[in-house]
Symmetry: C2
Subunit: 137 residues, 2 copies
DNA sequence: AGCAAAAATGCAATAATGTTGCAAATTTTA
DNA sequence: TAAAATTTGCAACATTATTGCATTTTTGCT
């Protein structure tokens, strides 16, 4: 079965044009995508609202995860690990290139252990590193 | 000399009501502040635009630094390390409490070393950990 | 295939957030 | 204290996000 359909079915989502198109974008994209990127790439084939709702659904289902940024935007990237609805466990470092501005999931760079002071209960750890990516150097 | 004045003077900023008030907020606040928090706390004593510009100025001068978030907002916190204009070196971990929703600078938890794949040049590393803070447990 | 139920979409209205230019007010400097 | 420099508020505008509801699409079933 087609990979797209597979992912949607597995997550009990009805398969629609919008979802297929957006999911395809993520599968093809080497890096993370922002809402704006998706709107551009899809050439306004569907409404902004649909994009918002699709992204939200995908995050809830654990199909994509979001990456914290420092500039008032949200970036989304495909979950390669086997994330579940409501609980992500993408345990990798994210890299933002200052030159090409792409955000890349470094799937093979593990999140380091961080020891917190007494009394803190640790749930999720995000590591975002900026610099120059291997393409741009 | 008053601490507020001291900080502003040291950074060659003219001391105005707005700057004093906002800086005071940061000095008093245990956690990080978003633009919206500041607007609320200052009771609309000054214009939104002034708040935007003040935050921008403070970041540029290295008085505050911003903290990446996953929700389309920017958080700001006082720089305790001796940051300079244009170059921050707050080398600490940030913690977001899932219960009280506060974001705290863990000044004494150092950013761990992360080894990147060949070809990547590392510039800045942000670590944001979520969980339950020591107050809320 | 055809139909009813369920779910997703588009549209419009509205809200929230951020940016810019410029005149008036405030602060600094001399 | 006056002039120069800087900051502020206002207004207008731009961008981004949210919500309700009617219409369309998809799904599950016969
Ligand atoms: Mn990732
Ligand atoms: Mn901090
Ligand atoms: Zn690059
Ligand atoms: Zn807490």
């Amino acid at each position: 079965m087609d990979q797209l359909l597979d992912i949607l079915k597995r997550n009990q989502l009805s398969v629609t044009e919008g979802r297929k198109k957006i999911l395809e974008l993520f599968l093809k994209s080497p890096g993370a995508l922002a809402h704006a990127d998706i709107e551009k790439s899809t050439d306004a084939s569907f409404d902004r609202v649909t994009v918002y709702r699709t992204l939200q659904t995908f995050v809830e289902k654990g199909i994509i995860h979001n990456i914290p940024t420092t500039d008032n935007s949200i970036l989304y990237a495909l979950c390669r690990d086997n994330c579940e609805a409501g609980h992500h466990h993408d345990n990798h470092v994210h890299f933002i290139c200052d030159v090409c501005d792409k955000t890349i999931c470094l799937e093979h760079v593990a999140i380091p252990e961080v020891k917190l002071p007494k009394g803190f209960k640790q749930n999720q750890t995000d590591v975002v590193i900026s610099g120059v990516c291997s393409e741009c150097r």
